[in-house]
Amino acid sequence: MHEIIQYILSYLTSDKTPGAAGNMFWALVYIMLVFAGLSVAVIAMNWLERKILAHMQVRLGPMRVGPHGLLQPIADAIKLLLKEDIMPAEADGFIFWVAPFLVVLAAFTVFVVVPFGPTHAVTDMNIGILFMLGVSSLSVLGIVMAGWASNSHYPLIGALRSSAQMVSYEVAMGLAVVSAILMTSLNAEGTGTLSMIGIVQAQMAQGEWFIFKFFPLGLIAFFIFAVSMVAETNRAPFDLAEAESELTAGFHTEYSGFRWSLFFLAEYSAMIAVSSIAVTLWLGGWLRPFPNWLSGGTWDQIFNFFPGVTFLFFAALCFFNTVRMPKHPLFRVQTIGLAGFGVVLGLIGLVLLYPPVSFRIQDIFWFSAKVTGFMYLYIWYRGTFPRYRFDQLMQIGWKVLLPLGLGVLMLTASVALIQEYLIKTWHL
């Protein structure tokens, strides 16, 4: 027993990813953790999206199931699991069956390389970003398979729209990614890298996030990626593949119950995946704000408090709302539930304040915080932008983003070359 604890503790101080250490057991543990964390994130995202959208439209959103509708996603999940699983009689059985699994597989497999921290990734591949783009582009196959196999008109149109959209926006996305990868080659050794951990380390070494590099080139590349990632994940305002007003539900019209929930899960985890690509490439991945400028023990101490304090803040919000709950006896259970939730959050916050834990959890916290920002943006887009028409969508993809991407790529390469030339000749 003692040895097992020692073994686990010894791993906590490791400076390698499980993949690099070749440790099958820890790789498995990490995969489980990532899977569980993602599922929790999708559940949280489900609740947050409904709440935030509701508040943007001056509604209350879910309020009945649990305090402030906190148990609504769980109720939804139970409903979906208990629902009858219908397969249309005319559907192509095998493809209809396999499509949701392919989509989920593509959406979850990419997290193998997502660097939550220098050691907190399942593994680090030297083709990390290629792997992410490649595997996440497999999900469109699942969508088209689902649309075709349903043997019905709305799903087929939705699937065709989605495929055209993804194929077009992948080009602009690729160009933006290439211009960021080009920036990694401006290190002292002069070789770039495709590994996700390497990209963040290059930003650390160059002392600036790539979004600010060669201003405004990095910013434009980031903008291109930020637009095309919304299109890639079929989200508003580019959600033509599932436009409710035209296509009922698009490619998953014929799906119900558990299989529909797989599509839902895949959509949200794909959103988290592309956001983490954006965070890794442009926003410094797991790096805390100003790692070079505000360096030193004191600043490290201060930034170490952030994860715990965030959770304590959420706990305080819970307690504040517990006090504001109606005093009617019918609300007693909900009030107790909200207070309990606050206590759980507060305990998590206290654990995170404990120095070894906070030191270890730091990078994961900053990565998640940045990704959470993107998630909020997704909801914000959905609440504010009207849906584009399909020809407008294609026009933006091919006539705006693609030339912009090409231009940024060429300019980045030229500026990088000029900078290298200046450094080499005049030792600036």
Partner: protein, 169 residues
């Protein structure tokens, strides 16, 4: 770290490739053929990975996911699946098939028997982490001319497609 490229995985992926390849030509429904093709190509990219060529494997996945996508669309738009499922297949050319199969088989047996003399007897010392950089320097250094010619060919194909598709430019 223990190598992942064990014979088990090689046989697994090779089996997927062979079964996928056979299914591409035997399925009556062209959509099923396209899916079998994807399975075969993904297994092929895994084999590239086992050969310590991660860049080629990644590019294979990216390109073929998009490529098969377009193939899929062509199948959906151009082929009447109801009819093609009922049609007699015209791929039952036994004589040509047997001749081609025997030639290929003979080639494989010949390589297997004479392989020791043709190929170097030890594996090249490949550093996996340099793979992408090596390909880059080769494409833009040694093979610059052929690379540019290939891109010119693609440009001509794009222009041709635009000219054919648009009646009025």
């Amino acid at each position: 770290m223990a190598p992942v490229a064990t014979p088990f995985f090689f046989y697994l992926f090779a089996a997927i490739m062979v079964v996928g390849g056979i299914m591409v030509i035997t399925r009556k429904n062209p959509v099923h053929s396209a899916l079998a093709l994807i399975a075969a190509l993904l297994a092929q990219s895994s084999i590239y990975l086992m050969l310590y060529a991660p860049f080629v494997a990644g590019v294979q996945v990216i390109l073929y996911a998009g490529g098969i996508m377009v193939l899929f669309l062509f199948v959906i738009m151009l082929v009447s699946i109801d009819r093609s499922v009922r049609e007699r297949q015209f791929n039952s050319q036994w004589v040509a098939g047997i001749i081609a199969g025997m030639t290929l088989g003979g080639l494989f047996i010949g390589v297997y028997a004479k392989g020791k003399d043709i190929f170097p007897d030890h594996a090249m010392p490949i550093i996996e982490s340099d793979n992408t950089q090596k390909i880059g320097t080769m494409l833009y250094g040694q093979y610059m001319f052929s690379f540019e010619i290939a891109s010119l060919l693609l440009l001509v194909a794009i222009i041709g497609a635009v000219v054919m598709a648009k009646k009025k430019i």
